[in-house]
């Protein structure tokens, strides 16, 4: 059987609006009160995706190293900003810590996948690098945001225990080890859960996309396995780096916990 990707016409695309109106009707009927967000969200989806479609097409066409690096740098910046905004407690130097963790977590995984496993040539080939790095980056961003939030709330709820361990003569690393473990676990659990059920309930997005685009399902499976492991790797690396770097910000040089950081604002 020969695969052929259906190319929807503009009219076909407008017909997707049926789904939009369906959501709108349900939202009004059930008084969910999200009509405004729904309209804005839909418009942003259309605008952002059209824009990114053309940009990616242009980058693919140029196939230049500096353009690919610029695009990646922009993506890292947006991911860092998003993860930083999601933190309830803005500790000193948060943006830098977040950026460094996301950058390193993404770099290590991207390097192994594109350079060691797939051996893409040239190494910056945007057709491979941008979508893969994008996927890695998105997961890296989420894991840093979850780990950061969880680490803070764990420390907050264990403040007395952490201080008791300091009083007994332990250093701050020992005192916050449990909070650290819980934060990394929280960042990893969503990925581990999806690894348990992948393919059983639904086919993952990338695999579905490849099959729809005409790829052999076995080839799509190979890529999906790479993708699942690269996501698990980036989630773990990023959360471990971020928690280890940020924990120092909660303690002073004299092994004292900065209690003022945990006061409710």
């Amino acid at each position: 059987m020969k695969y052929r990707l259906i190319d929807p016409t503009l009219f076909d695309m407008l017909l997707v609006g049926i789904l939009f109106f369906l959501i709108l009707i349900l939202s009004v009927r059930e008084r969910v009160n999200l009509e405004k967000q729904l309209i804005i969200g839909s418009l942003r989806t259309i605008f952002q995706l059209i824009m990114i479609g053309y940009i990616i097409e242009y980058i693919f066409h140029l196939n230049r190293l500096y353009i690919v690096l610029l695009a990646l740098a922009f993506m890292v910046l947006v991911a860092t900003q998003t993860a930083t905004t999601r933190q309830k407690k803005k500790i000193k130097g948060l943006f830098g810590l977040m950026g460094f963790s996301i950058f390193l977590g993404t770099l290590i995984t991207t390097f192994i996948v594109t350079f060691v496993v797939l051996k893409i040539d040239p190494w910056y080939s945007p057709v491979y690098l941008l979508p893969l790095a994008g996927m890695i980056l998105g997961n890296s961003m989420n894991s840093a945001a979850i780990a950061g939030e969880r680490f803070y709330s764990e420390l907050h709820s264990r403040l007395q225990q952490v201080e008791t361990l300091l009083i007994l003569g332990h250093d701050f690393k020992f005192a916050c080890a449990k909070a650290k473990r819980e934060a990394v676990k929280a960042a990893m659990v969503p990925t581990l859960n999806s690894m348990m059920t992948v393919g059983l309930v639904a086919l993952p997005g990338m695999m579905t996309g490849q099959i729809l685009a005409g790829a052999n399902p076995v080839l799509a499976t190979k890529y999906q396995i790479i993708v699942m492991l690269m996501i698990a790797s980036t989630v773990t690396i990023t959360s471990v780096i971020f928690v280890n770097l940020s924990m120092r910000r909660y303690f002073s040089k004299g092994q004292q916990i900065k209690k003022y950081l945990f006061k409710d604002n």
Binding site: Q160, I167, L168, G169
Partner: protein, 220 residues
């Protein structure tokens, strides 16, 4: 007599944020504690009695002035080792969700005390030695306070900072804990700095007393 702890012109206030402080709790305070002595600190709530102990334990840093332990500035010492030598028993005991024995093992200096010795201290504090396997979070506050005291002893400290440890106990247990602390500290030649509100302790025992008032410390 040798001075073990000394405060020179210490001023202190808690931090509000990275750069600002709350209002001053202690101002240019001087204090000298002799080795092997027991001293009481009294004063109204909020005058800075607990803060004084936290300063000496290195949990807080003074805004100005210096604190010395054996004649050395505490901020120049290895703070973890120093906290094992200057042990703080908090007002509300913090127990971890594990057995009593495991809670005791949380002290880094635990290797120095054998199980038999632990049991002996346990019994002398009116705790059943079989209770070592019990979940620490199930203990009454009085029992937890005694376990916390033993946990401090595990580090074999030279100085014990006691932040109203008898406050949650009834009169009988209060005196029992006090007598035990006296016995152990005397036997082990420890120095005790005891913050209390309890007039029965202050009046009954002829130890040196300091009053904290108006950001200063006065000997009474």
């Amino acid at each position: 007599m040798t001075t073990i702890i000394e405060l020179q012109n210490v001023s202190f206030a808690y931090k509000k944020n990275e750069t600002e402080h709350e209002s001053l709790l202690l101002e240019s305070v001087n204090l000298s504690i002799e080795k092997n002595s027991l001293v009481f600190f009294v004063g109204e709530s909020g005058v800075g009695k607990s803060s004084l102990l936290r300063l000496i334990n290195g949990l807080e840093s003074p805004i100005s002035g210096e604190i010395y332990f054996h004649g050395k500035k505490i901020n120049a010492l290895d703070i973890c080792l120093m906290r094992r030598k200057i042990s703080l028993l908090q007002q509300v005991p913090v127990m971890f969700p594990m057995t009593v024995e495991e809670n005791l093992n949380l002290s880094p200096g635990v290797v120095k005390i054998s199980l038999d010795e632990k049991k002996e201290i346990f019994n002398s504090l009116g705790l059943n030695e079989n209770g070592l396997g019990k979940m620490a979070t199930e203990l009454s506050i009085g029992q937890a306070q005694r376990v916390a005291f033993i946990r401090c002893l595990m580090n074999q400290p030279e100085v014990m900072l006691l932040d109203e440890p008898t406050a949650p106990l009834d009169k009988k247990n209060k005196m029992k804990l006090f007598e035990t602390i006296l016995k152990y500290t005397k036997e082990n030649k420890m120095t005790i700095l005891w913050v209390t509100h309890d007039p029965s302790l202050i009046e009954e025992y002829p130890f040196k007393k300091f009053l904290l008032k108006d950001k200063r410390i006065y000997e009474i």
